[in-house]
Subunit: 101 residues, 3 copies
């Protein structure tokens, strides 16, 4: 087995944010990462100050969206630097991992 070190990145957004289309365009056209997967959450809540219902289940108009991708550190590091200028603090999470390659 040939192991390659990568960094996994997950970006936490909401559907209502205009960020998503722009972000996907950037990842596809400019950063050219190996691949991107976008997941929609069924519910969620954000950082301080947001009040939701007691059930936390009626956020259907603005569901959470996670954009996930991974690539080698040399490719990911400048992407994270770029994302830091676009995505608000605390919404880009990343950790080291391995891929079969």
């Amino acid at each position: 087995m040939n192991e390659t070190e990568v960094i996994v990145v997950r970006i936490y957004l909401h559907e209502a944010k205009a960020h998503l289309a722009e972000l996907l365009q950037y990842l596809h056209d400019e950063s050219k990462v190996r691949g991107v997967t976008v997941f929609r959450g069924i519910t969620g809540f954000g950082s301080s100050g947001e009040i939701h219902s007691s059930t936390l289940m009626d956020m259907s108009l603005d569901l959470p969206v996670v954009v996930e991708f991974f690539d080698v550190p040399a490719k990911i590091k400048p992407i994270i630097e770029h994302l830091n200028t676009k995505i608000k603090p605390g919404h880009v999470v990343y950790w080291p991992a391995h891929i079969n390659d």
Copy 2:
């Protein structure tokens, strides 16, 4: 770039379990983590003993649900201690990561 160390936590449940609403209430009202996202899986199976169909595709009445959140270790550690009293062993997974902050 300012990196902050966090711990990512993923909790594996099923929709049919009453745990979910109670868990979200706890994370929202008491633990006050930065944010929580809940994902629904399209299929899955649990630990030993459960028999599913050969296709594994007809579990629509009790789909897997993953509750994901992250925060700094000082905040996450007591949450994991609490979860250990509520969630059965092997269903809370966590690992170190970084956020832009």
Copy 3:
């Protein structure tokens, strides 16, 4: 708290691939991992060469699918070796984590 070291594995596929059913069968019947969750992405793109629309949003016929599972390293390592013979390079991602156990 009793911590057990595990390896989290995520495999990136597409719904249209025949791999999925075969993979779930293998994980369920042969490898007997603790549990498997399958997630469907709402959009995504793969590695080099694939052209998608400018919006990246009209891939409804072949949505990305992620198969996720975790277990102790001794159990995961032979599974990854097996997956390397079945899944194309760069589509199996894994990292160390802990579970409550």
